[in-house]
């Protein structure tokens, strides 16, 4: 009985073999994460320089502005990348140019909402 169980487990292990992520996903993810990291670093440096004049403003003005800028730039990039990725699917499903434009706008809005949830 336990031999059967082990055999079944072995089959299960084969059936649920790990799935390699597509190389394209790996590259895209690395790019997105690197962009966010770079933007955050650049903004951190810019914030330090601009805040040197008046340290009292550091927490009051510069930090929130830096946070919003980092988030906004990264988010816009992500929305565009994600929307662009779905262009083939949209083209295949669209009934015509107007429909395609509508689908593109809807995708943009949907991705913007999703990125807003993720990033902010």
């Amino acid at each position: 009985m336990s031999e059967q169980f082990a055999e079944f487990e072995n089959l299960l292990r084969k059936a649920l073999a790990p799935v390699e992520p597509p190389a394209e996903l790996e590259a895209r993810l690395e790019l997105n994460l690197a962009s966010i990291v770079d933007l955050a670093t650049e903004e951190l440096e810019a914030w330090e320089l601009s805040s040197m004049g008046d340290p009292r403003n550091w927490t009051r003005i510069a930090r929130p502005v830096a946070a919003v800028t980092i988030g906004s730039a990264a988010a816009v990039g992500l929305v565009l990348v994600r929307t662009q990725r779905k262009r083939h699917k949209r083209r295949n499903e669209a009934a015509g140019a107007v429909d395609l434009a509508g689908r593109t706008l809807r995708d943009l809005a949907r991705e913007a909402r999703r990125v807003a949830d993720d990033v902010f």
């Binding site: 169980f5 079944f8 487990e9 089959l11 299960l12 292990r13 084969k14 059936a15 649920l16 073999a17 790990p18 799935v19 390699e20 992520p21 597509p22 996903l25 790996e26 895209r28 993810l29 690395e30 997105n32 994460l33 966010i36 990291v37 955050a40 670093t41 951190l44 330090e48 992500l78 994600r82 699917k89 999703r114 993720d118 990033v119």
Partner: protein
């Protein structure tokens, strides 16, 4: 300035650690996502969102993990996002999953057809399991997580997780037997 230097160094260390986490577990998160949602397109989206969420909360997770592995935390993020995915789209996992591990696993020629049928039946059976049992099996067999890691990812005790996995395998065996028919 010493303070800002410290902040920069701290951030660089965090980014390096996150990069290592990402490289070590991209395949885990993707495999989990794939078996949860059943297609590559949505699995890519889910993986991407998981790492973005993880990046947002990485510092706190690292602090609170007290040196324990962060894989269960990552998988828990993917689990929550997958739950939202189903809620948003009001749908269940798509079946069949037939072009992932089954096709990528090495097979000898003579075993190929028979094995592939068995594996397809098993995969179809996995999709019929209750959510918690299905997830536990994905974590155990696709990701190779041990009971403790799965328990952390699912928010259960080690003992409850062990029972959950045992019952999941038993139930799956029954489903596959029924699918094979009375002569099997």
């Amino acid at each position: 300035m010493a303070s800002s230097e410290h902040t920069r160094e701290h951030k660089a260390r965090l980014d390096d650690a996150f990069s290592a986490l990402y490289k070590a577990h991209l395949r885990d998160v993707y495999s989990y996502s794939y078996y949860r949602v059943g297609n590559h397109h949505d699995a890519e989206d889910l993986t991407e969102q998981t790492f973005l969420q993880a990046y947002r909360h990485f510092e706190r997770a690292q602090r609170e993990s007290e040196g324990r592995p962060l894989r269960p935390w990552l998988i828990r993020i993917a689990h929550n996002l997958a739950a939202n995915y189903y809620r948003d789209r009001s749908r269940k996992p798509q079946t069949p999953i037939d072009d992932a591990g089954v096709l990528s696993a090495p097979h000898t020629t003579e075993d190929l057809v028979e094995d592939r049928d068995d594996l397809k039946r098993i995969l179809a059976g996995v999709q019929q399991l209750p959510d918690d049992r299905r997830e536990a099996l994905i974590m155990r067999f696709a990701l190779g997580m041990d009971n403790r890691e799965i328990a952390r990812a699912l928010g259960r005790t080690d003992g409850a997780t062990k029972v959950l996995i045992h019952r999941a395998i038993r139930q799956l065996e029954e489903i596959v037997k029924q699918d094979e028919g009375p002569d099997a």
